[in-house]
Symmetry: C2
DNA sequence: ATGAGTGCAAAAAGTTTGCACCGCT
DNA sequence: AGCGGTGCAAACTTTTTGCACTCAT
């Protein structure tokens, strides 16, 4: 009753990540605790990819009331994945990378071997093709992960200029 | 001189995995040792996906002359990846999965959430689209990983029959 | 002989878990 | 009161590494 967000445009995200998470928790007989709220707010306050350790750094070394332990961060990341708010995108230096999967359009990544940069791109055709392929195999698709590897524009440039610079020292 | 394999059809794999690996090792100033040969032969004697531990199991618990230590298996897996003979395909239960990337056509996977099965498929259109997308970003693609998630044909079937069977016990 | 390569055991790195205590409902 | 949740520390898993010895060229 008196739900403010219900009046937002259907094109926008009508429910906040915290609310969405609360919904999910309820279906599992779980509660939205202060720690869970803090983690979700922290996670959705940035749009960049992150790994568990980066999040732990931001949350478990503080002295205020928003400190959350390492174990809880890991436990909540698992829940956020299960609830569809986050998804793992890639593995970098042995760590899983996460990104927002709620309120953010489907996209894929170009990953540079050289500098490790992730560039997002979107392409409708791919999803269409995948639906078709899945259908042919009797497979019901509910998502995908596509990583394109190679050299990004910056790293393609031959390092000749750098040599010259070094030689001048 | 007198290279037997050079007379094979260009459509077939003209060079064995061991030879291909030897070539790569040479470019790195490395040698093909007996251990490396054993590992490559073992890896290419099966076509299924595998993780490091499965390979270690097959190679480091034997008493004959084909035993190889765990460390060496890990070290050689890295080399096989660098040489382009193997590639990592997915992560399952916290372990990296490998598959042949030499003498085996480019393909992608349908991965079932329920039973974990990997089904391979091939689709030309996808590579074309990726080349195009990469080009638009000034990115030079040299490969990709595409995993489609969902439910496989078997797991889509509702488990009603199973219940009936169980009830009859 | 010389430097690459191996095996072993220890270490690292990332993640999970057992347990006692805490707090919401 | 009861059950879910947290923090801590210890455990675990997978992978990497230091070191002394070995082997191929």
């Amino acid at each position: 009753m008196g739900d403010v967000v219900s009046e937002l445009s259907a094109l926008e995200v009508a429910v906040s990540p915290v609310d969405k998470f609360t919904e999910y928790l309820a279906t599992q007989g779980m509660r939205l605790t202060m720690e869970r709220r803090i983690i979700v707010e922290e996670v959705f306050s940035h749009h960049e990819h992150f790994d568990a350790d980066q999040l732990v750094d931001r949350l478990s070394h503080r002295n205020d009331s928003r400190r959350v332990s390492r174990s809880t961060v890991y436990r909540v990341l698992t829940l956020l994945e299960e609830s569809g708010l986050l998804r793992k995108v890639a593995r970098s230096a042995g760590k899983d990378l996460f990104e927002h999967d709620y309120g953010y359009p489907q996209h894929d990544h170009l990953i540079c071997h050289e500098c490790g940069s992730l560039t997002e791109f979107r392409n409708e055709e791919i999803s269409d093709i995948l639906e078709k392929v899945a259908g042919e195999h009797g497979f019901r698709m509910d998502g995908h992960r596509l990583e394109v590897y190679g050299l990004c524009a910056d790293c393609r440039r031959p390092p000749k200029r750098r040599h010259r610079k070094l030689d001048m020292v």
